[in-house]
Symmetry: C2
Subunit: 120 residues, 2 copies
C-alpha cells in the first residue's frame, strides 16, 4: 500500500504546505485561480490541482463568475481537526512537568538496576 490519499480527509489535505497557503489566502475572501497562483508564486496548473484536492475534501467551494471561477473558504471541515488536536491540549501544557518527572524516574531507575537513558 501507499500513503493515504490526500483527498481522504482534511488531515491529509492540509498536510501540504502549498494547500495551507491557499487556505490562509482565502481567509481574505473569494479569489480567482490565476490571482492566487500569482500571489503565491505557483503556476496556474499547480494552483488548480491543489484547489481540486481542497474541493474534494470540502474545504473550499467554487462559484462561477463569467470566465473566472471564484474559490472561497469553507472551513467547516477544519473543525474536526481542531477538536481532535485539541484533545491533546492538556498534554502539551503538562509537558514540562512530565519531562521533569521522567528525569526523576530516570535517576531512580539508575540507582535501582542497570542503566537506561533517553534514546534518540
Amino acid at each position: 500500500m501507499a500513503r493515504a490519499t490526500t483527498t481522504s480527509d482534511a488531515f491529509n489535505a492540509i498536510a501540504e504546505p502549498r494547500r495551507q497557503e491557499i487556505l490562509m489566502l482565502l481567509r481574505g475572501g473569494e479569489r480567482p485561480v490565476t490571482d492566487m497562483a500569482r500571489d503565491l508564486g505557483m503556476t496556474q496548473p499547480q494552483a488548480s490541482k491543489h484547489l481540486r484536492v481542497l474541493r474534494e475534501v470540502g474545504l473550499v467551494r467554487v462559484r462561477e463568475a463569467g470566465k473566472q471561477r471564484l474559490y472561497g473558504l469553507d472551513a467547516r471541515g477544519l473543525r474536526p481537526v481542531h477538536e481532535w488536536v485539541g484533545g491533546f491540549e492538556r498534554f502539551w501544557s503538562e509537558s514540562f512537568d512530565r519531562l521533569a518527572e521522567y528525569a526523576q524516574e530516570l535517576k531512580e531507575a539508575r540507582q535501582e538496576g542497570p542503566q537506561d537513558g533517553d534514546v534518540q
Copy 2:
C-alpha cells in the same frame, strides 16, 4: 517530486490514521511497543515504524526499561497545529452566514461593474 515527507512536520505525521490511534492511546500513559501493537491490532513492525515517524517529528519520546522501550507522548509539537487550525475558527462559525453573504456580494458586484476581490 513526491509528497512531503511524513517526517517533515507534525501536520504530515498526524495525517496517518494509524499514527493518530497511537497518539490517542498514549494519552493513557507510557507503553511498550508490543502492547500498543496488540491493542491497536497492528503488527509489531508496523507499530515500530509509525513510532519512528512520530519520534522523528518529536511527538513521542522513548525510554529504555530493560527489554522494553516505553514510548510516551510529547504533545508539544501539536500546539502549532492546533493554533494554525484555530486561525480558521471564526470561519467555520460564520460558514453558513457567509454563504448567504457571498450570494449577496455576487448580486451587488454584478450590478456595479467588473469585479475584484479582497487582496489580502
